[in-house]
Structures are given as structure tokens and as C-alpha cells.
């Protein structure tokens, strides 16, 4: 079994925190993993992506071929669309709907949403607002992780919760609990939508 994921967002949004939890869970499960990250100049408010590959067998390439991604997971709606050529025909897009506008020519929002709506398999949710409503505004990334967990068949949701507990353990029980709550909210949203 193998799943290839493109994590997308804008530099500074923290897509790597999602990858860190998945990585921890994958390591614990004895899965093979490759994760190509973006560092350096592009982190300064530009578009960023990470290629995350999980498999029960050894993985060669650090990069996902076009048409090969099972999931695009994005913290920003336009950034989800940027990587469509990488999405496989049966692939899912899981994306935040709250735009991050730091360029003058950001497209009209209804065009962005129309682009997402035209996809056969998409879960779109406002993770920023959901996290705020849950009382953990910094948990937006974990809401998104929960939303993707519904289609991330290679790792069970409970394994990801364990990953969250490990990664956030040193920040205390309250932080762990609020991140788990955020994760569960995303998961529930996604399961209802599927």
C-alpha cells in the first residue's frame, strides 16, 4: 500500500507541522516515508509545497510524479489548485477555504471556489474559523489533518492522534487536548461530507 500527498500552503502557514505528525505516526507504524521540504527563499510568503510519500514498501523518488498524488492537502484554497496537475484521477483535494491574500492579483474568490467545486473528490472547509470556534485558533492545521485523515487510508485516525500526543507532549496536556479536539472536528466534518 502506498499514498502520495502534496501538502500546500503559503510560506509561514506551517504545512510542515502536519507533516511532522504524519511522519511520527508513519515511523511508529514502520512505514517507509519520503518527504521533500521547501526551505530558504521561498519560505518568505511565497507558495510552498511538500511532497510526502508513505508506503509499506521502499520508496525511490523524493518527488511525486504528475498525476501521481492521491491527496492534495492545502492550507489555502488557491494553493490547492496550483498543484492539480499532480493529482491522480481518483485523488482527493482537502483544503482550507480561507484565502491568504498577500498578492495584488489574487483571483476572485468565487472563481477559486468554482475551481474546487468542479473537482469530483474535494473536501473544503474553513479550518481557521473552525479552530477559532473550538477555542484553539492555533489548531487550524490539526483541523486540516483531521479532515485528511478520513481519506488517508494508510494510517488510522487513532495512529495520527497518537502522533499528535507525541509531538505536542512537551507543551502540556492542555495543548495536546485542544489539538486532538481540532483533529476530531476536522475528521467529523470530512466523514460527513464524503
Amino acid at each position: 500500500m502506498k499514498q502520495d500527498i502534496i501538502l500546500a500552503g503559503v510560506g509561514g502557514q506551517g504545512i510542515l507541522s502536519i507533516a511532522t505528525v504524519i511522519g511520527s505516526a508513519a515511523l511508529e507504524q514502520g512505514l517507509y516515508l519520503k518527504q521533500a521540504e521547501v526551505h530558504g527563499m521561498s519560505q518568505r510568503g511565497g507558495d510552498v509545497q511538500s511532497n510526502l510519500r508513505l508506503s509499506s514498501d521502499p520508496i525511490y523518488s523524493d518527488l511525486i510524479p504528475k498525476g501521481g498524488a492521491d491527496l492534495i492537502v492545502s492550507l489555502e484554497p488557491m494553493e490547492a489548485l496550483r498543484y492539480l496537475p499532480y493529482l491522480s484521477r481518483e485523488g482527493w483535494v482537502i483544503t482550507n477555504t480561507a484565502p491568504f491574500v498577500n498578492i495584488p492579483d489574487y483571483p476572485e474568490m468565487d472563481k477559486v471556489m468554482a475551481g474546487l467545486d468542479s473537482l469530483p473528490r474535494v473536501v473544503a472547509l474553513d479550518v481557521d474559523t473552525m479552530a477559532k470556534d473550538l477555542g484553539s485558533p492555533r489548531g487550524a492545521n490539526m483541523v486540516l489533518l483531521g479532515a485528511m485523515a478520513a481519506v488517508l487510508h494508510i494510517l488510522e485516525p487513532e495512529k495520527l492522534r497518537e502522533g499528535i500526543r507525541r509531538i505536542f507532549a512537551r507543551k502540556g496536556d492542555a495543548v495536546v487536548a485542544s489539538n486532538i479536539k481540532a483533529f476530531d472536528a476536522g475528521l467529523a466534518f470530512s466523514q460527513n461530507r464524503k
Binding site: 519520503k34 518527504q35 527563499m41 518568505r44 498525476g67 492539480l84 475551481g115
Partner: protein, 531 residues
């Protein structure tokens, strides 16, 4: 029992070096190499063993420091991005002549596709140039193991080893098993060939002849190296040479195994005997290599040998840019996977200076003043502030390499440019701007040097900057007149004062330095959250 960790290629290299008995890492930050040194700086074993791990002022001082450590018999690692190789080329080339005593490994991280760089130069050419072996890993696990092999090889053959990573190895994470053998550091022990370390012509000529002989032996070693292998395939219509991580992209496209014979190359000099074996059964060869066509050019002869070589030169593989599984797929003649059409609504999102960054306020004030000077030219440098070229600022006219702002401003001023303004960051200034400033003082150049001081090496993630707290003293020591070393604080409320200072120093027809100082907001946030 082995530890299992998710490590970047950079971190695997760092851990492998520590476990191989490293005594010092010498480096200047540069994407994609920075995490090697940072990993060692934070590792408890490095603290316990007192491994030298402070940042160096630039790649040249780093390379020389490491060479001194090797001279003393201990194992040293030098790390840099590819263009850092140009900065340290002098001691690097010299180190092939002195040879290594304690193991000496130079890790150069190339950045094909220029994710965060100004060119695509391929460090393997430096290896051939210096007649030095080059190791190029194809996986994170191999990186961990290879760095130990590189130290061993360096000590066995008495030669520094260049280890070449590219972005997708340096900045990609995978499971790495480590720690089953952690070796002690070397004791102090000076070379038993002391003449070789004094490169007077009388010694260097002798050494050069020896090095030429050794280089032939390095090739024989490469032909039998465990990192290089020739694997047969049933379909002889094509033979494939895959170097470093190109091997991964090749195998990615053949999940059931590659049907063609494959020569995997991760240790150079290029093992010609293995290539001859491959060509004995395959009349057509495809060369897959990350970076410039080094191997391909060596294989493509002037004479017709009846062997056809495909690769980047005939654009079977794109002539520039990093390799991808898709590019390799196309080169193999395989159809692309079915894919979604690209979205038409997506707008480009280029990197930009952070909101609240001091460079922004500096450029705003500089632009305001330069509106009144039609002939103004602003010479930029390497760092976050290079983004001052982008909208909305459009402040810079040039950016070439580390330190060039000061010296290009000098040359342009001598040609009649006025005002000639240099914009350089604090870390870049101490990396290689200081010597240029001395030239300006000695030549009484009419330039205004603006040091945009954010108290850190910002672009690479906030490493220590070598001159923090001493920039005024350095400029004064280099001979800039004290009254023309001005300090401003780049904040919107200070625009009138900033503009006045900039204007006064442009009006002064000599060397002036304006230090625009405010901490990087990224490091400021980090410091605040630590408290």
C-alpha cells in the same frame, strides 16, 4: 540496536559525521546546506565531545579552519551551498595539493532549478578540477553511511573528499537507521609528510605528479566501490547511467525492476571501466544526472565510436533545471501519467519581505531620497533584502554574489555614477563586504554603503551573524571617517530622520556607511516565545 529517525539528507550527513568521530564542523549558512551544521550544533554528542561547531565568517575561512584541523590529525567537515565552493575555491584547490591528514570531507549542496540560488553550478566539476574524489549519495540512508566511508577514504588515501548533495537529497526526509557504531575522535597527530603541506613550487611539483598518479588510483577505487554498481537487464536496446539521486527517478518509473542494464554512479572519478562494460552490450546509452552534463560530456567523444549517448546535451533530458520523475519518464519514452488539467485561476505567489521587516522600511526611505537623484544606481547583494528588487520597491539594479554590492558600487562610481549606493546585509558584509570597503577607503570612492543590519543571517533561518554589535567599530577600523558612519532605526515613524541621514551621506563625496539596524522579525518572534 539501531536508532530509527526521520532525517533530512542534511541531518543524515551530520549524524553520520558525528558518529564517524568528527572533531569540527566549519560552515557558513547557505540553502540547502544550513541544516547540516545546525543539526551538529544541537546534538548532545557534539556538546559532550566539544566538537567545534560555531559558524565561520565565510566559506573560505571555514575551509581553511577545517584544513588546519585535518593537519592536526582530526576529522573535519566543511559545509556550504554550491556557490560557497567559489568562495573557498582557493583553499579547496590547495587542499588537494596538501592532501588530508585527519579525514577531511567537504559537503557541497547544489541547488539545481535555483530554488534559492543564483546559478545551477554543479560541484562535481570542482572535484575533477582539483583531482579529488567525489561522493554523491542517492538516499538518506546511504548519506549517513557514505560520510563515514568518505572520512575513511580521506584518511586511507590522504586526500580530502568532496561530498555532493542536491536540494532534493539535502531537504528531503526519510527513515534513517543509525548509531550501531559510534567511533571515537582522532588524537592530535601531525602529518608524516610535512613537505607536502608547504606548497612552494619545489614541493608542489613533486606533489602534483603524485596526485596525478593517485587520481588514477581513485578511478580504480571508484570502479570497485560498493556505492557504484552495474546491474544487468534483459533489454539491451538501452543502457542507462544514473548518477546520485537520478537513480531514484529511474527506479521510480520501473516499480517491477528496470528492464535495461543500469550503471549506478555515486563515487567519482567516473568509473570508466564500468561504463566500458555497459557499452559492450548496449549501443545506445542514456545518462541521467542531476545538474550539469558532467558524465555525458566525458562520454560523448569527438570520434565516432558507434555508441550513441543521450542525455541533457541533446535534450532527451531537459538541458536545465533539476531532474523530476516526469522528466526521466519522458526520457525513457514512457507516456506521462493521466493528470488533471492545470487550473487557470491560479496567480503566481512570489516570495516577499515579511510584513514588519526592517528592510522594508529601509527601502521605503531610500526610494524616497533617490527620487531626487536621476542618475542613482543601487548595487544589491545576497540575502532577504535582494527581494527589494521586487514590487513594490524596485530598489535594486544589481545582485551578483556575496559582497559585490560594495565593490561594484566602487567601480561604477569611478565610471561617473552618482549617487552609487551599495545595499548589503550585516552577515554578507562580514562574509565578504569588509575587504571591498577597505578598497573604497583606500581609493577614496564616492559611495554610500548601506548595511541593512537585522542582527542575524536571515534568509537561511536566523543563524548568528559574525559582526553583530561591532559593525561601527569594524567600519571605523577599516578607515571610514567616524562622522560618516551613521546609524538609523528603520521604522515608519523614523522616515523623516532616515531620509535626512541618507540624503546627507549621499551629498558627502567620499565613503560613507549607513547602518540601518533593527532585529529580524522572525528571530524577534522566536526570542519572544522563548521568554
Amino acid at each position: 540496536m539501531a536508532d530509527k529517525n526521520l532525517l533530512l539528507g542534511d541531518e543524515a550527513l551530520a549524524l553520520g559525521a558525528l558518529h564517524a568521530g568528527l572533531s569540527g564542523v566549519f560552515a557558513y549558512p547557505g540553502t540547502p546546506s544550513t541544516e547540516i551544521t545546525e543539526f551538529i550544533q544541537l546534538h548532545p554528542l557534539a556538546a559532550q565531545r566539544k566538537v567545534h561547531r560555531d559558524w565561520s565568517s565565510n566559506e573560505k575561512t571555514a575551509m581553511e579552519g577545517a584544513l588546519g584541523m585535518s593537519y592536526a590529525g582530526k576529522r573535519a567537515l566543511v559545509c556550504m551551498k554550491h556557490v560557497g565552493m567559489n568562495v573557498c575555491a582557493d583553499p579547496f584547490m590547495g587542499s588537494a595539493m596538501t592532501g588530508a591528514n585527519g579525514g577531511l570531507v567537504i559537503a557541497a549542496c547544489d541547488d539545481p532549478s535555483m530554488h534559492s540560488s543564483q546559478n545551477e553550478q554543479d560541484s562535481r566539476f570542482y572535484g575533477a578540477f582539483a583531482m579529488m574524489p567525489v561522493f554523491e549519495p542517492s538516499s538518506q540512508q546511504e548519506t549517513y553511511e557514505m560520510v563515514r566511508a568518505a572520512f575513511d577514504y580521506s584518511e586511507k588515501r590522504g586526500i580530502p573528499v568532496l561530498m555532493r548533495l542536491t536540494t532534493r537529497m539535502a531537504h528531503s526526509r526519510a527513515v534513517v537507521e543509525s548509531g550501531t557504531s559510534v567511533r571515537e575522535q582522532n588524537e592530535l597527530k601531525y602529518p608524516d609528510n610535512p613537505r607536502q603541506w608547504v606548497t612552494l613550487p619545489v614541493n608542489a611539483r613533486v606533489r602534483n605528479r603524485q596526485l596525478i598518479k593517485d587520481y588514477a588510483a581513485f578511478e580504480e577505487d571508484a570502479a570497485t566501490s560498493r556505492f557504484n554498481f552495474l546491474r544487468d537487464g534483459a533489454d539491451k536496446s538501452l543502457g542507462i547511467i544514473a548518477c546520485g539521486i537520478a537513480y531514484n527517478y529511474l527506479m521510480e518509473n520501473f516499480p517491477e525492476g528496470c528492464p535495461y542494464p543500469v550503471l549506478k554512479v555515486s563515487q567519482y572519478p567516473f568509473p570508466r571501466p564500468l561504463a566500458r562494460q555497459l557499452a559492450a552490450s548496449c549501443q545506445t546509452l542514456l545518462v541521467l544526472e542531476e545538474g550539469q552534463p558532467l558524465v555525458e560530456e566525458r562520454l560523448k567523444g569527438v570520434f565516432d565510436t558507434g555508441i550513441t549517448v543521450h542525455g541533457r546535451l541533446d535534450e532527451t533530458v531537459p538541458r536545465d533545471g533539476e531532474l523530476t520523475p516526469d522528466a526521466v519518464r519522458a526520457a525513457l519514452g514512457l507516456p506521462a501519467l493521466e493528470q488533471h488539467p492545470a487550473s487557470e485561476v491560479v496567480a503566481p505567489r512570489p516570495p516577499a519581505l515579511c510584513q514588519g521587516c526592517g528592510h522594508r522600511d529601509f527601502f521605503t526611505a531610500l526610494n524616497q531620497v533617490l527620487k531626487d537623484y536621476e542618475g542613482a544606481r543601487v548595487f544589491g547583494d545576497i540575502g532577504c533584502y535582494t527581494l527589494g528588487w521586487m514590487p513594490p520597491f524596485h530598489s535594486l539594479h544589481t545582485c551578483v554574489e556575496m559582497g559585490a554590492s560594495v565593490t561594484m558600487a566602487i567601480g561604477s562610481a569611478y565610471s561617473g555614477t552618482y549617487p552609487a549606493v551599495a545595499v548589503i546585509g550585516d552577515s554578507t558584509f562580514t562574509h565578504s563586504g569588509m575587504t571591498g570597503l577597505l578598497d573604497a577607503v583606500n581609493g577614496k570612492a564616492d559611495i554610500t554603503v548601506c548595511i541593512s543590519d537585522n542582527l542575524t543571517t536571515g534568509m537561511t533561518g536566523g543563524q548568528d551573524s559574525a559582526g553583530t554589535g561591532r559593525l561601527e567599530a569594524i567600519c571605523e577600523g577599516l578607515g571610514v571617517e567616524k562622522e560618516h558612519i551613521r546609524t538609523i532605526v528603520p521604522l515608519p515613524k523614523n522616515y523623516p530622520e532616515m531620509e535626512q541621514v541618507i540624503r546627507e551621506e549621499i551629498e558627502y563625496h567620499g565613503v560613507s556607511v549607513i547602518i540601518s539596524r533593527r532585529e529580524c522579525i522572525q528571530t524577534l518572534r522566536r526570542h519572544a516565545s522563548k521568554k
